[in-house]
Protein backbone atom coordinates (compact mmCIF):
# COMPACT_ATOMS: atom_id res chain seq x y z
CA UNK A 1 0.00 0.00 0.00
CA UNK A 2 2.77 2.42 0.93
CA UNK A 3 4.61 1.31 -2.22
CA UNK A 4 1.63 2.32 -4.29
CA UNK A 5 1.19 5.72 -2.63
CA UNK A 6 4.86 6.57 -2.91
CA UNK A 7 5.02 5.48 -6.56
CA UNK A 8 1.87 7.43 -7.41
CA UNK A 9 3.16 10.64 -5.79
CA UNK A 10 6.50 10.45 -7.56
CA UNK A 11 5.37 9.27 -11.00
CA UNK A 12 2.39 11.61 -11.24
CA UNK A 13 4.64 14.43 -10.10
CA UNK A 14 7.22 13.73 -12.79
CA UNK A 15 4.57 13.33 -15.53
CA UNK A 16 2.76 16.55 -14.60
CA UNK A 17 6.06 18.44 -14.50
CA UNK A 18 7.11 17.16 -17.92
CA UNK A 19 3.68 17.92 -19.37
CA UNK A 20 3.85 21.43 -17.95
CA UNK A 21 7.35 21.99 -19.34
CA UNK A 22 8.91 22.02 -15.87
CA UNK A 23 11.17 18.99 -16.12
CA UNK A 24 14.15 20.85 -14.68
CA UNK A 25 12.31 21.62 -11.43
CA UNK A 26 11.98 17.87 -10.90
CA UNK A 27 15.74 17.41 -11.00
CA UNK A 28 16.37 20.28 -8.65
CA UNK A 29 13.60 19.38 -6.18
CA UNK A 30 14.58 15.71 -6.00
CA UNK A 31 18.20 16.56 -5.20
CA UNK A 32 17.52 19.21 -2.58
CA UNK A 33 14.74 17.16 -0.96
CA UNK A 34 17.02 14.16 -0.50
CA UNK A 35 19.67 16.40 1.04
CA UNK A 36 17.19 18.05 3.39
CA UNK A 37 15.83 14.66 4.45
CA UNK A 38 19.24 13.61 5.76
CA UNK A 39 19.73 16.96 7.50
CA UNK A 40 16.33 16.54 9.14
CA UNK A 41 17.05 13.07 10.51
CA UNK A 42 20.49 14.13 11.78
CA UNK A 43 18.94 17.16 13.43
CA UNK A 44 16.37 14.93 15.04
CA UNK A 45 18.98 12.60 16.48
CA UNK A 46 19.96 14.85 19.39
CA UNK A 47 16.38 15.38 20.49
CA UNK A 48 15.64 11.66 20.16
CA UNK A 49 18.63 10.78 22.36
CA UNK A 50 17.35 13.11 25.05
CA UNK A 51 13.73 11.90 24.92
CA UNK A 52 14.45 8.22 24.69
CA UNK A 53 16.95 8.46 27.55
CA UNK A 54 14.39 10.21 29.72
CA UNK A 55 11.87 7.55 28.70
CA UNK A 56 14.25 4.87 29.85
CA UNK A 57 14.71 6.61 33.20
CA UNK A 58 10.97 7.00 33.66
CA UNK A 59 10.41 3.35 32.89
CA UNK A 60 13.28 2.07 35.06
CA UNK A 61 12.07 4.26 37.93
CA UNK A 62 8.65 2.60 37.81
CA UNK A 63 6.62 5.59 36.57
CA UNK A 64 4.78 3.44 34.05
CA UNK A 65 3.81 1.00 36.81
CA UNK A 66 2.63 3.81 39.08
CA UNK A 67 0.37 5.18 36.35
CA UNK A 68 -0.89 1.68 35.55
CA UNK A 69 -2.16 1.33 39.12
CA UNK A 70 -4.14 4.54 38.66
CA UNK A 71 -5.79 3.64 35.35
CA UNK A 72 -6.58 0.01 36.17
CA UNK A 73 -9.91 0.59 37.98
CA UNK A 74 -11.12 2.73 35.07
CA UNK A 75 -10.06 0.12 32.54
CA UNK A 76 -11.84 -2.74 34.25
CA UNK A 77 -15.14 -1.03 33.40
CA UNK A 78 -14.21 -0.97 29.71
CA UNK A 79 -13.60 -4.72 29.72
CA UNK A 80 -16.67 -6.31 31.30
CA UNK A 81 -15.73 -9.71 29.82
CA UNK A 82 -12.39 -9.84 31.63
CA UNK A 83 -12.47 -10.88 35.31
CA UNK A 84 -11.30 -8.09 37.58
CA UNK A 85 -8.33 -9.98 38.97
CA UNK A 86 -7.16 -11.38 35.62
CA UNK A 87 -3.54 -10.55 34.65
CA UNK A 88 -4.72 -9.35 31.21
CA UNK A 89 -6.07 -6.20 32.86
CA UNK A 90 -2.64 -5.53 34.34
CA UNK A 91 -0.96 -5.82 30.94
CA UNK A 92 -3.60 -3.60 29.35
CA UNK A 93 -3.06 -1.00 32.09
CA UNK A 94 0.72 -1.05 31.52
CA UNK A 95 0.26 -0.72 27.75
CA UNK A 96 -2.17 2.20 28.05
CA UNK A 97 0.07 3.91 30.64
CA UNK A 98 3.16 3.64 28.44
CA UNK A 99 1.16 5.09 25.54
CA UNK A 100 -0.14 7.92 27.73
CA UNK A 101 3.44 8.87 28.58
CA UNK A 102 4.42 8.80 24.90
CA UNK A 103 6.63 5.71 25.31
CA UNK A 104 5.59 3.86 22.18
CA UNK A 105 8.44 1.35 22.19
CA UNK A 106 7.70 0.39 25.81
CA UNK A 107 3.99 0.01 25.08
CA UNK A 108 4.30 -2.64 22.37
CA UNK A 109 5.68 -5.51 24.52
CA UNK A 110 2.95 -4.92 27.13
CA UNK A 111 0.35 -4.86 24.36
CA UNK A 112 1.54 -8.14 22.87
CA UNK A 113 1.41 -9.77 26.30
CA UNK A 114 -2.11 -8.42 26.83
CA UNK A 115 -3.21 -9.97 23.53
CA UNK A 116 -1.84 -13.36 24.58
CA UNK A 117 -3.68 -13.18 27.90
CA UNK A 118 -6.90 -12.10 26.19
CA UNK A 119 -6.49 -15.00 23.78
CA UNK A 120 -6.49 -17.40 26.76
CA UNK A 121 -9.93 -16.06 27.67
CA UNK A 122 -11.13 -16.23 24.07
CA UNK A 123 -13.42 -19.22 23.36
CA UNK A 124 -12.92 -18.97 19.57
CA UNK A 125 -9.22 -18.81 18.83
CA UNK A 126 -9.42 -17.55 15.26
CA UNK A 127 -11.95 -14.80 15.99
CA UNK A 128 -11.31 -11.51 17.76
CA UNK A 129 -13.08 -11.30 21.13
CA UNK A 130 -14.96 -8.21 22.31
CA UNK A 131 -12.18 -7.41 24.77
CA UNK A 132 -9.52 -7.64 22.04
CA UNK A 133 -11.37 -5.22 19.80
CA UNK A 134 -11.89 -2.74 22.64
CA UNK A 135 -8.20 -3.03 23.48
CA UNK A 136 -7.20 -2.35 19.87
CA UNK A 137 -9.54 0.65 19.71
CA UNK A 138 -7.64 2.10 22.68
CA UNK A 139 -4.36 1.43 20.90
CA UNK A 140 -5.13 2.60 17.38
CA UNK A 141 -6.67 5.84 18.57
CA UNK A 142 -3.37 6.39 20.39
CA UNK A 143 -4.29 8.23 23.58
CA UNK A 144 -1.23 10.20 24.58
CA UNK A 145 -0.55 12.99 27.06
CA UNK A 146 2.84 13.88 25.66
CA UNK A 147 3.61 13.38 21.95
CA UNK A 148 7.36 13.45 22.54
CA UNK A 149 8.71 13.00 19.01
CA UNK A 150 6.26 15.53 17.56
CA UNK A 151 7.26 18.11 20.18
CA UNK A 152 10.90 17.40 19.33
CA UNK A 153 10.37 18.06 15.63
CA UNK A 154 8.50 21.30 16.37
CA UNK A 155 11.45 22.40 18.51
CA UNK A 156 13.89 21.50 15.76
CA UNK A 157 12.13 23.84 13.34
CA UNK A 158 12.20 26.74 15.77
CA UNK A 159 8.69 26.76 17.24
CA UNK A 160 8.13 29.50 19.83
CA UNK A 161 6.36 26.95 22.03
CA UNK A 162 7.02 23.38 20.83
CA UNK A 163 4.66 21.77 23.36
CA UNK A 164 1.70 24.05 22.56
CA UNK A 165 0.00 21.26 20.58
CA UNK A 166 -0.36 19.11 23.72
CA UNK A 167 -3.85 20.41 24.43
CA UNK A 168 -5.14 20.08 20.88
CA UNK A 169 -3.61 16.61 20.55
CA UNK A 170 -5.27 15.46 23.77
CA UNK A 171 -8.64 16.87 22.68
CA UNK A 172 -8.41 15.20 19.25
CA UNK A 173 -7.24 11.87 20.64
CA UNK A 174 -10.05 11.81 23.21
CA UNK A 175 -12.61 12.45 20.45
CA UNK A 176 -11.10 9.64 18.36
CA UNK A 177 -11.11 7.25 21.31
CA UNK A 178 -14.65 8.11 22.38
CA UNK A 179 -15.93 7.65 18.82
CA UNK A 180 -14.12 4.33 18.54
CA UNK A 181 -15.45 3.01 21.85
CA UNK A 182 -19.02 4.07 21.10
CA UNK A 183 -18.98 2.53 17.63
CA UNK A 184 -17.37 -0.63 19.01
CA UNK A 185 -20.12 -0.88 21.60
CA UNK A 186 -22.88 -0.36 19.01
CA UNK A 187 -21.46 -2.90 16.54
CA UNK A 188 -20.67 -5.43 19.24
CA UNK A 189 -24.30 -5.63 20.31
CA UNK A 190 -25.50 -5.92 16.73
CA UNK A 191 -23.03 -8.49 15.51
CA UNK A 192 -22.29 -10.35 18.71
CA UNK A 193 -21.63 -13.97 17.87
CA UNK A 194 -20.76 -15.98 20.91
CA UNK A 195 -17.15 -14.84 20.90
CA UNK A 196 -18.33 -12.59 23.69
CA UNK A 197 -19.50 -15.36 26.03
CA UNK A 198 -18.47 -14.35 29.54
CA UNK A 199 -15.19 -16.22 29.99
CA UNK A 200 -15.30 -15.88 33.76
CA UNK A 201 -18.17 -18.36 33.79
CA UNK A 202 -16.01 -20.95 32.05
CA UNK A 203 -13.24 -20.67 34.58
CA UNK A 204 -15.51 -20.29 37.59
CA UNK A 205 -13.71 -17.14 38.69
CA UNK A 206 -16.43 -14.55 38.69
CA UNK A 207 -17.68 -15.60 42.14
CA UNK A 208 -21.34 -15.32 41.46
CA UNK A 209 -21.06 -11.85 40.02
CA UNK A 210 -21.86 -11.95 36.33
CA UNK A 211 -19.69 -9.69 34.22
CA UNK A 212 -21.72 -6.60 33.61
CA UNK A 213 -22.31 -6.12 29.92
CA UNK A 214 -23.71 -2.66 30.30
CA UNK A 215 -21.47 0.19 31.25
CA UNK A 216 -18.80 -0.38 28.64
CA UNK A 217 -19.10 3.03 27.03
CA UNK A 218 -19.76 4.95 30.22
CA UNK A 219 -16.07 5.14 30.94
CA UNK A 220 -15.57 6.32 27.37
CA UNK A 221 -16.02 9.91 28.56
CA UNK A 222 -18.94 11.95 27.53
Amino acid sequence: MMNLIWMALLEIGVLVAVAGGRADTVTETAMTAAEQAVETVLGLLGIMVLWLSLSRMAEDAGLVRALARLVRPLLSRLFPGVPRDHPALGSIALNVSANLLGLGSAATPFGLRAMQQLQELNPRKDTASDAMITFLVLNTSGITLLPTVVVGIRAQYGSANPAEIMGTTLAATLCATAAGLLLDYALRRGGSDGASAPPGALRGRSRGRLPRRAGAPEAGRR
Binding site: L10, R22, A33, A37, S53, Q119, N139, T140, V150, Y157
Partner: protein, 175 residues
Protein backbone atom coordinates in the same frame (compact mmCIF):
# COMPACT_ATOMS: atom_id res chain seq x y z
CA UNK B 1 -4.43 26.48 31.82
CA UNK B 2 -3.45 24.20 28.93
CA UNK B 3 -1.08 26.86 27.66
CA UNK B 4 0.57 26.97 31.08
CA UNK B 5 0.79 23.20 31.12
CA UNK B 6 2.37 23.16 27.67
CA UNK B 7 4.92 25.82 28.60
CA UNK B 8 6.10 24.04 31.74
CA UNK B 9 5.64 20.40 30.72
CA UNK B 10 9.14 19.90 29.34
CA UNK B 11 11.03 21.82 32.05
CA UNK B 12 9.00 19.83 34.59
CA UNK B 13 9.91 16.53 32.97
CA UNK B 14 13.60 17.50 32.83
CA UNK B 15 13.45 18.33 36.53
CA UNK B 16 11.23 15.55 37.79
CA UNK B 17 12.20 12.43 35.85
CA UNK B 18 15.95 12.40 36.68
CA UNK B 19 15.23 13.33 40.33
CA UNK B 20 12.64 10.60 40.70
CA UNK B 21 14.94 8.13 38.94
CA UNK B 22 17.74 9.07 41.34
CA UNK B 23 15.40 8.58 44.29
CA UNK B 24 14.49 5.14 42.96
CA UNK B 25 18.22 4.37 42.56
CA UNK B 26 18.13 4.03 38.77
CA UNK B 27 21.52 4.16 37.05
CA UNK B 28 20.89 7.42 35.22
CA UNK B 29 23.85 7.35 32.86
CA UNK B 30 23.16 3.75 31.92
CA UNK B 31 19.62 4.83 31.01
CA UNK B 32 21.12 7.61 28.89
CA UNK B 33 23.39 5.15 27.14
CA UNK B 34 20.51 2.75 26.40
CA UNK B 35 18.31 5.62 25.25
CA UNK B 36 21.01 6.88 22.90
CA UNK B 37 21.46 3.50 21.32
CA UNK B 38 17.71 3.26 20.81
CA UNK B 39 17.66 6.77 19.29
CA UNK B 40 20.44 5.92 16.84
CA UNK B 41 18.62 2.79 15.73
CA UNK B 42 15.34 4.69 15.36
CA UNK B 43 16.96 7.42 13.25
CA UNK B 44 18.66 4.82 11.06
CA UNK B 45 15.29 3.13 10.70
CA UNK B 46 13.37 6.27 9.64
CA UNK B 47 16.06 7.70 7.34
CA UNK B 48 14.99 5.77 4.21
CA UNK B 49 11.34 6.74 4.75
CA UNK B 50 12.18 10.40 5.22
CA UNK B 51 14.34 10.55 2.08
CA UNK B 52 11.73 8.70 -0.03
CA UNK B 53 8.81 10.81 1.19
CA UNK B 54 10.65 14.15 0.99
CA UNK B 55 11.60 13.42 -2.62
CA UNK B 56 8.18 12.09 -3.70
CA UNK B 57 6.19 14.88 -2.04
CA UNK B 58 8.72 17.50 -3.10
CA UNK B 59 8.37 16.50 -6.76
CA UNK B 60 4.58 16.15 -6.44
CA UNK B 61 4.34 19.68 -5.07
CA UNK B 62 6.90 21.38 -7.35
CA UNK B 63 5.36 19.86 -10.49
CA UNK B 64 2.02 21.49 -9.78
CA UNK B 65 0.29 18.12 -9.30
CA UNK B 66 -0.62 18.99 -5.70
CA UNK B 67 -2.38 22.15 -6.89
CA UNK B 68 -4.35 20.09 -9.43
CA UNK B 69 -5.46 17.63 -6.74
CA UNK B 70 -6.20 20.47 -4.39
CA UNK B 71 -8.61 22.00 -6.88
CA UNK B 72 -10.50 18.73 -7.18
CA UNK B 73 -10.58 17.74 -3.51
CA UNK B 74 -10.97 21.10 -1.81
CA UNK B 75 -14.80 20.94 -1.57
CA UNK B 76 -14.81 17.50 0.10
CA UNK B 77 -12.01 18.23 2.54
CA UNK B 78 -13.35 21.71 3.15
CA UNK B 79 -16.57 20.19 4.43
CA UNK B 80 -14.51 18.32 7.03
CA UNK B 81 -12.58 21.47 7.92
CA UNK B 82 -9.28 20.12 6.64
CA UNK B 83 -6.95 22.04 4.28
CA UNK B 84 -5.78 20.13 1.19
CA UNK B 85 -2.13 20.28 2.26
CA UNK B 86 -2.67 17.67 4.99
CA UNK B 87 -4.39 15.15 2.67
CA UNK B 88 -1.24 13.01 2.13
CA UNK B 89 -0.75 12.90 5.90
CA UNK B 90 -4.35 11.78 6.48
CA UNK B 91 -4.01 8.99 3.90
CA UNK B 92 -0.67 7.67 5.14
CA UNK B 93 -1.27 8.04 8.92
CA UNK B 94 -3.18 4.74 9.38
CA UNK B 95 -0.75 2.83 7.12
CA UNK B 96 2.77 3.75 8.13
CA UNK B 97 4.01 5.46 11.29
CA UNK B 98 7.39 6.32 9.80
CA UNK B 99 5.84 7.48 6.53
CA UNK B 100 3.41 9.76 8.37
CA UNK B 101 6.18 11.14 10.56
CA UNK B 102 8.16 11.97 7.41
CA UNK B 103 5.17 13.74 5.82
CA UNK B 104 4.47 15.67 9.01
CA UNK B 105 8.10 16.76 9.22
CA UNK B 106 7.95 17.90 5.60
CA UNK B 107 4.82 19.98 6.32
CA UNK B 108 6.43 21.56 9.40
CA UNK B 109 9.53 22.42 7.38
CA UNK B 110 7.47 23.81 4.51
CA UNK B 111 4.97 25.89 6.48
CA UNK B 112 6.71 26.43 9.82
CA UNK B 113 5.77 24.80 13.14
CA UNK B 114 3.63 27.72 14.35
CA UNK B 115 1.52 28.07 11.18
CA UNK B 116 -2.00 26.64 10.87
CA UNK B 117 -0.75 23.76 8.72
CA UNK B 118 2.18 23.13 11.07
CA UNK B 119 0.00 23.03 14.17
CA UNK B 120 -2.65 20.92 12.47
CA UNK B 121 -0.18 18.40 11.04
CA UNK B 122 1.54 17.92 14.42
CA UNK B 123 -1.83 17.56 16.17
CA UNK B 124 -3.02 15.00 13.59
CA UNK B 125 0.18 12.99 13.94
CA UNK B 126 -0.30 12.72 17.69
CA UNK B 127 -4.08 12.26 17.62
CA UNK B 128 -4.17 8.68 16.29
CA UNK B 129 -1.83 5.76 15.87
CA UNK B 130 -0.92 3.57 12.88
CA UNK B 131 -4.21 1.64 12.76
CA UNK B 132 -3.32 -1.02 10.15
CA UNK B 133 0.11 -1.65 11.60
CA UNK B 134 -1.17 -2.04 15.18
CA UNK B 135 -4.02 -4.31 14.07
CA UNK B 136 -1.87 -6.61 11.95
CA UNK B 137 0.82 -6.79 14.63
CA UNK B 138 -1.51 -7.47 17.58
CA UNK B 139 -3.99 -9.75 15.84
CA UNK B 140 -1.20 -11.51 13.98
CA UNK B 141 0.73 -12.20 17.18
CA UNK B 142 -2.04 -14.48 18.52
CA UNK B 143 -3.27 -15.88 15.21
CA UNK B 144 -6.61 -14.06 14.98
CA UNK B 145 -7.95 -14.29 11.43
CA UNK B 146 -11.50 -12.96 11.82
CA UNK B 147 -11.21 -9.42 13.07
CA UNK B 148 -14.97 -8.66 13.00
CA UNK B 149 -15.61 -4.91 13.16
CA UNK B 150 -12.11 -3.94 14.40
CA UNK B 151 -10.79 -2.39 11.16
CA UNK B 152 -13.95 -0.36 10.51
CA UNK B 153 -13.95 1.01 14.05
CA UNK B 154 -10.23 1.84 13.82
CA UNK B 155 -10.64 3.79 10.58
CA UNK B 156 -13.73 5.71 11.71
CA UNK B 157 -11.88 6.65 14.86
CA UNK B 158 -8.96 7.92 12.71
CA UNK B 159 -11.25 10.13 10.62
CA UNK B 160 -12.91 11.49 13.78
CA UNK B 161 -9.43 12.19 15.15
CA UNK B 162 -8.44 14.22 12.05
CA UNK B 163 -11.63 16.28 11.95
CA UNK B 164 -11.35 16.87 15.71
CA UNK B 165 -7.71 17.95 15.21
CA UNK B 166 -8.76 20.67 12.76
CA UNK B 167 -11.53 21.81 15.09
CA UNK B 168 -9.27 21.83 18.16
CA UNK B 169 -6.50 23.77 16.39
CA UNK B 170 -9.00 26.34 15.08
CA UNK B 171 -10.53 26.84 18.52
CA UNK B 172 -7.28 26.79 20.51
CA UNK B 173 -5.31 29.12 18.24
CA UNK B 174 -8.18 31.24 16.92
CA UNK B 175 -8.05 30.60 13.15
Amino acid sequence: MIDLLARYAIPFILLFVPLYALYRKVDIYAAFKDGSREALLLCAQILPYVVAIFVAIGVFRASGALDLCAGLLRPILGAAGLPVEVLPLAIVRPLSGNGALAIMTDLVRQWGPDSFIGRLATTMQGSTDTTFYVMSLYFGSVGILKTRHAVAVGLVSDVVGFVASALAVKIAFGY
